[in-house]
């Protein structure tokens, strides 16, 4: 981690000048003069230019959308499909023309991928296929996969992964077991969260393998954090759910034990990898937050459950426990940040 720069090396801003004025480090006249100079250098004409452009384009596109909405009922089915598929084709051809190596080309490929979803929606509206929601997202993901592979664009990959997550999320509630009965809700929820965990964890592992293989276009810290967040949210949700299910002690607690154990192993694994192998303080912070939450839920389960009206002392004890848990987490994080810095 880079050393913290001197505060005197920071760029001057108006709020900073006002803080200095409040601390008597500047006189009022000096502050006014510096503020006026800063204000003159602000790129207001660029902001105005871009603001008018963006707002004007958005209004016109919305107007075009309203125009099609007005005429939608008068369009034939071939016209509707033609418009939807035509927009996909135009975006893809424009992407090819711009070149997949250029940022504009990649953006156009992303736009084409989004428009494929519009095409599928129009197709589904016209032909009333009766497909389940997860099938639509699956079809979308399958159709755009070649472009995702060609594009070598991290946001496009993350969008595709988002479609896979949605597919899995919508699949389990309508899925059936071998005997053609729906899963009970608790099992359905468990399978759903574990599936999402598996998908995002595999994606994270593949992403890190690509980074180690020196595939440069993949090396984005924020994409790893996003994947880690998705994975940790899944496992944290599952663990929390299992703990709450056993709150009154009437249900078999073994799934909770397994969930907590697996969660702990995952946390330790992430801590080792992002602490020693590929240091990243934000990733460690996410890991710590998940660990603290799990420990707090466990503590609440042990201290507060089993009582119809918790005693005041239990609330006080929980307060101190939470202080200790989060305090310990922050202490470990600060130690890790010093280790990473050195």
């Amino acid at each position: 981690m880079e050393p913290i720069p001197s505060p005197l090396d920071r760029a001057a801003t108006i709020p900073l000048l006002r803080r200095l004025l409040a601390a008597d480090a500047l006189t009022i006249d000096e502050a006014k003069c510096l503020e006026n100079r800063l204000r003159q250098d602000l790129p207001w004409s660029l902001w105005l230019d871009r603001g008018l452009l963006i707002l004007g384009v958005i209004l016109m596109i919305t107007g075009v959308g309203y125009f099609f909405a007005h005429n939608w009922q008068h369009l034939t089915e071939n016209d509707k499909l033609g418009l939807a598929s035509g927009s996909v084709l135009v975006a893809f051809i424009a992407a090819c023309y711009a070149g997949f190596d250029r940022f504009l080309g990649k953006l156009l490929l992303l736009a084409a991928s989004l428009l494929v979803g519009v095409f599928i929606a129009v197709f589904g509206q016209i032909y009333q296929t009766g497909a389940d929601t997860y099938e639509l997202f699956l079809a979308w993901a399958v159709l755009i996969f070649p472009w995702v592979a060609l594009g070598r664009f991290v946001p496009l990959w993350l969008f595709w992964l988002g479609l896979i997550n949605l597919t899995v999320g919508f699949y389990w509630p309508v899925s059936h077991n071998l005997f053609f009965e729906s899963y009970e809700s608790s099992r359905c929820f468990r399978y759903e969260t574990l599936s999402l965990l598996a998908i995002n964890l595999i994606a994270l592992v593949l992403c890190e393998c690509a980074v180690w293989a020196k595939i440069t276009w993949v090396d984005r810290h924020w994409s790893a954090w996003l994947l880690l967040t998705a994975a940790l949210i899944s496992i944290t949700t599952e663990t929390t759910y299992e703990i709450i299910r056993t709150w009154d002690g009437s249900i078999n607690a073994w799934p909770t034990v397994y969930a907590v154990a697996f969660h702990a192993i995952l946390i330790l694994g992430v801590a080792f990898y992002f602490g020693r192998v590929r240091p990243s303080l934000p990733a460690l912070a996410l890991d710590t937050l998940s660990a603290c939450w799990m420990l707090m839920m466990l503590a609440a389960r042990l201290v507060l459950s089993g009582h119809a009206d918790p005693l005041s002392g239990q609330w006080l004890f929980m307060g101190f426990l939470v202080l200790a848990i989060f305090g310990g987490g922050v202490f470990l994080l600060r130690a890790a940040s010093r280790f990473i810095a050195h």
Partner: protein, 360 residues
């Protein structure tokens, strides 16, 4: 100067660590407050006790915060302070008569006292915003939620005028906090932001109800031979007029003051004409987001800019959605508005000499 820049002890901790610290502190405080609630028992029968406990909690948290024991303790103190204030409101507000009036007085009193005694930005922001919004609720709803009774023969709509005056006070307060350069500027920044948040919340509240009904919806495209423009009664234009004047004043200030106005009268005249035209067309609600974006840009306040940038599309969506036109007419209106903005941009680019390399 270096000491002044590093006075804030949190400057060496990344924001996500501060978030974890704050999150844990608030959770712990929730359990401590739960401890108090269980200890006191049935709050309905012990409201005064509840209120006094809240006062004690507030005093203790203020004293502890002033010891400057670190970010974790300061977040615990903030949570306890807010809980104490809530307990004070619950304990001391009358149940039946003058509830809102008392709440308004109490909130303003707490804001004044704690602004000085509890020097934390977030605390100041929360108490000021609460005081402003509670006072607004009192103006709209009266003491017991039934509105103020106006004398039958009184010619002016009192509540409307009071609301307009309160809106103008907000704008004056924002100008006072941000446009003046003084030693109190940093101290007043939370109050300025609270005024911004209060105005934004007010605008959002109105967008769903009275404000759209009374200040927007001119009939532009109608089935009659001549256009039929709805002219709202004059008191309801006070708020957008005040906002337009403030926006104009901020732009003049940002440009360099009255001297620049005298030096370049034509652009400012055109600006005034444009603002008047928007007011006449009934789009006065756009002035507030434009004011926030402009002021936020020129005082380099990312939060204010962000609020303005979020409020602008919310207003535009609400405005166009509630236009009493069919889809085709709305389509033409939208495309026409977009074209007008693009033409304005094209015209301004020549005058502003914007570098082509810098644009999209």
């Amino acid at each position: 100067m270096e000491r002044a820049l590093t006075q804030n002890h949190r400057s060496d901790m990344p924001w996500y660590l501060r978030f974890i610290v704050g999150f844990g502190a608030w959770l712990a405080s929730a359990f401590f407050i739960g401890f108090f609630l269980v200890l006191i028992g049935d709050q309905q029968n012990h409201r005064i006790t509840f209120g006094v406990s809240g006062l004690v909690l507030l005093v203790l948290s203020t004293l502890l915060f002033r010891q400057n024991l670190g970010i974790f303790v300061s977040q615990c103190c903030l949570a306890a302070s807010l809980a104490g204030q809530f307990m004070i409101y619950f304990g001391f507000l009358p149940e039946q008569h003058h509830t809102l009036g008392t709440a308004a007085v109490l909130s303003v009193g707490l804001a004044i006292v704690l602004y000085k005694l509890y020097p934390d930005t977030l605390q100041r922001l929360i108490i000021c915003t609460a005081a402003l919004q509670i006072t607004l609720a009192w103006i709209y709803l009266g003491n017991n939620g039934h509105g103020f009774l106006e004398p039958a023969d009184f010619p002016w709509p009192t509540v409307t005028l009071a609301v307009a005056l309160y809106w103008a006070l907000h704008l004056i307060g924002i100008a006072w906090c941000y446009l003046r350069v003084s030693r109190q500027s940093a101290l007043l920044a939370p109050l300025g932001l609270a005024l911004v948040l209060s105005l934004t919340a007010w605008q959002l509240e109105n967008l769903g109800s009275i404000w759209v009904q009374n200040e927007i919806l001119p009939v532009w495209f109608s089935n009659h031979a001549t256009a039929n423009f709805v002219v709202a009664r004059w008191p309801f234009y006070l708020r957008p007029i005040c906002t337009a004047l403030t926006l104009f004043g901020v732009i003049v200030w940002a440009a360099g003051g009255i001297e620049k106005l005298r030096q370049f009268p034509l652009p400012f005249t055109c600006l005034a004409a444009a603002l008047t035209a928007l007011l006449w067309l009934g789009v006065g609600g756009v002035f507030l987001p434009l004011l926030l974006i402009t002021l936020g840009f020129f005082v380099e306040s990312t939060v204010m800019k962000g609020i303005g940038l979020i409020l602008l599309p919310v207003f535009l969506f609400n405005y166009y959605y509630n236009l009493n036109l069919d889809l085709l007419a709305k389509s033409v209106t939208l495309i026409g508005s977009g074209l007008a903005l693009l033409l304005l941009r094209a015209g301004l680019r020549r005058w502003l000499q914007v570098d082509r390399k810098e644009t999209l």
